[in-house]
Symmetry: C3
Subunit: 308 residues, 3 copies
Amino acid sequence: MSQLSSRHLLGIKNLSATDIQLILDTAENFKEVINRPIKKVPSLRDITIANVFFENSTRTRLSFELAEKRLSADVINFSSSNSSVKKGETLVDTVNNILSMKVDMVVMRHSSPGAPHFLARNVKANIVNAGDGTHEHPTQALLDAFSIREKLGTLEGKRVAIIGDILHSRVALSNIFCLQKMGAEVMVCGPITLLPKHIESLGVKVELDIKKALQWCDVANVLRIQLERQQIKYFPSLREYSLYYGINKKLLNQLDKEIVIMHPGPINRGVELSSDVADSEHSIILEQVQNGVAVRMAVLYLLAAVKN
Amino acid sequence: MSQLSSRHLLGIKNLSATDIQLILDTAENFKEVINRPIKKVPSLRDITIANVFFENSTRTRLSFELAEKRLSADVINFSSSNSSVKKGETLVDTVNNILSMKVDMVVMRHSSPGAPHFLARNVKANIVNAGDGTHEHPTQALLDAFSIREKLGTLEGKRVAIIGDILHSRVALSNIFCLQKMGAEVMVCGPITLLPKHIESLGVKVELDIKKALQWCDVANVLRIQLERQQIKYFPSLREYSLYYGINKKLLNQLDKEIVIMHPGPINRGVELSSDVADSEHSIILEQVQNGVAVRMAVLYLLAAVKN
Amino acid sequence: MSQLSSRHLLGIKNLSATDIQLILDTAENFKEVINRPIKKVPSLRDITIANVFFENSTRTRLSFELAEKRLSADVINFSSSNSSVKKGETLVDTVNNILSMKVDMVVMRHSSPGAPHFLARNVKANIVNAGDGTHEHPTQALLDAFSIREKLGTLEGKRVAIIGDILHSRVALSNIFCLQKMGAEVMVCGPITLLPKHIESLGVKVELDIKKALQWCDVANVLRIQLERQQIKYFPSLREYSLYYGINKKLLNQLDKEIVIMHPGPINRGVELSSDVADSEHSIILEQVQNGVAVRMAVLYLLAAVKN
């Protein structure tokens, strides 16, 4: 039987197309499970998983926690607010302590890019990256890929525009890697100040005009304006951003074609997306949330099967 | 078989006497359950319940969590402190996200009156109001009714005085609705500044003199002085309040009759109740806490059975 | 069958050597359990345990929570940050409320020495002290004793030096009681300002010179410099402390003997222990963490069996 090529999920960059395919196919099975009246499976009944979140997160932590509980794993939560890290302990010591309590898997969010990679080299146990700074957020990219594949049948040859704050987004980077590996074409679109320099070197198209981007793509993945990550001003005001890059119904009605609207959440309604678009038949935003649980079940299930 | 007339519990106002009767009778069964050595039943084994608390609460959250676990539900906790609400997300988006993860019921506390009603109109899933601002706190009223019925055999014709800060209390309003529907007579008593204007229009007696109130009633439900909810001063000092409205043993000894003392907790000992009264044979305060778990089990159990 | 002589674990001071022996022997069985692929036992399946932490703690709370879950208990967590204590409720009222919800055991950490003893006199239910101020931390002492016994075969006649901040350490006091009851010799070593006056009256040796202490002992239990507990300065600087009392590889290499290095965590690397010592073959620090879960399982399991 096929299995993943690594015992960690640190990023999409080092996953093969076969790995991604296996995760998406497995997630399809789990999506059936969570839509049954009995949503639990006993797969990870003897596995203890620690959710170690050094950065706050509602939806990602809840989604992982639900995935873990539906796999019947034992779950312990650890967040930075009640952490020994404040007492001067190193990251490796903190996690090694948790592992010494015989925890089998660690789902980690950390504000430093590379933190889960560092851990994976230094501790036993499966590590799942739930977001490391502005670097990668692999399960988000996998659930986005799953949602597109579910909606359009395949990723092969599809055109996906990632719109908004590419510079501060770990979602953007993981999505680019994932979509390209699965044969999709990727474009990034946003104000020039929010596009990383040399982003073309990743093989993506760059477009500053939102209308042209929407005309080009099958799927628009609209990112959050993350004001909390911006130390300096990248655009004059939210109103200005919304005027030039906000997607509203009028803009969609000008297109002579079908389009799928995605958003990783939480939405700033009226900023990057108008409410009528977020709630329209184009939007698969809530479907993404549901798929998140299925994809995370698949990731945890598959990693647990890799021989340590 | 009888079932509740609504799939939500938003307030007592819209419950029928039959609904309340059904909840209290069901709670009686669950009280037996939680006094057995084996306190769990498998009733909600395939139900996931999210406790969404936008306001802090110890006893209510713990009581719901225990009720849920004893019904074998899967429980996830969400509190405002680690919330996307801070990132600018709307209430409906937050809860819709939680629901997209296939959560079946939402127990919600929110500082805005009407927040759970708003949600119930906008999302699928059973909503239980665990307190909305100064509006309603229906499970508290149900457990108070349960405790009186258990102690006195019936609510019909009993006289209940609600004493203290009626103005800022969601407990008071829910209690008035619940007691009247079950045939009890209700009086409110407190300093004039802490009684809402036109409260008589609800059909309650109003009394400023605590001695007369105690002489009249079978049950005194003593509310907490909620200093944290008061922006302006409603009485000169705690000492003054305690002098005029605090219930102590001396006051009770002057009565030539039996009286039951209740308090929704947490008690400010020495302010609204003296310690010797709180711990006396008149007090059923800890019984109320125990009944809270049974009543919440009944509510969750009955709501889950209503066809969505 | 033998059982504990008390239904609480408040401190080591009142435990008999037989009690400690029973706990360590039981922990040995549980250590086997948690090293099996199936780490859970159904022993406390119908027991609800409340973890009531009025002081933050990562490792102790996680360790108890894992112990409880592996015994199949139902677990509820209560921390001061979302506590009614802030609303003016007394400690006894808070805990009585939790108990009225039919909680069987309370694991409590509190900043006031004696808080769990006070509770034990006033509430029903088994109380486990998880640290009370600078007084006792009995499960830490038990896991330290377990770890030494496991490493050296016995505690009888072994020489243990407790090194560092003895004055602010509840670990030190519990360790002294536990080791002496089990027949070990105890020395304390640290700057004179961090040694309590009259500590010799407990029957321990006192040594100011770290080299002599290391030369004397079989086991060095190195405590954390708890800067957060110190209102005034007890030594000039961390650099100074590290220079005179920090244990590094060079110091150990000068010894002509075997030595075991312990630390209750979290480690300040480079202050009380250098990294090469913390990670050396002398160190059993991570073993201590693992043993913590087994010892806490034993304590909870044995207390639950004492007739209330």
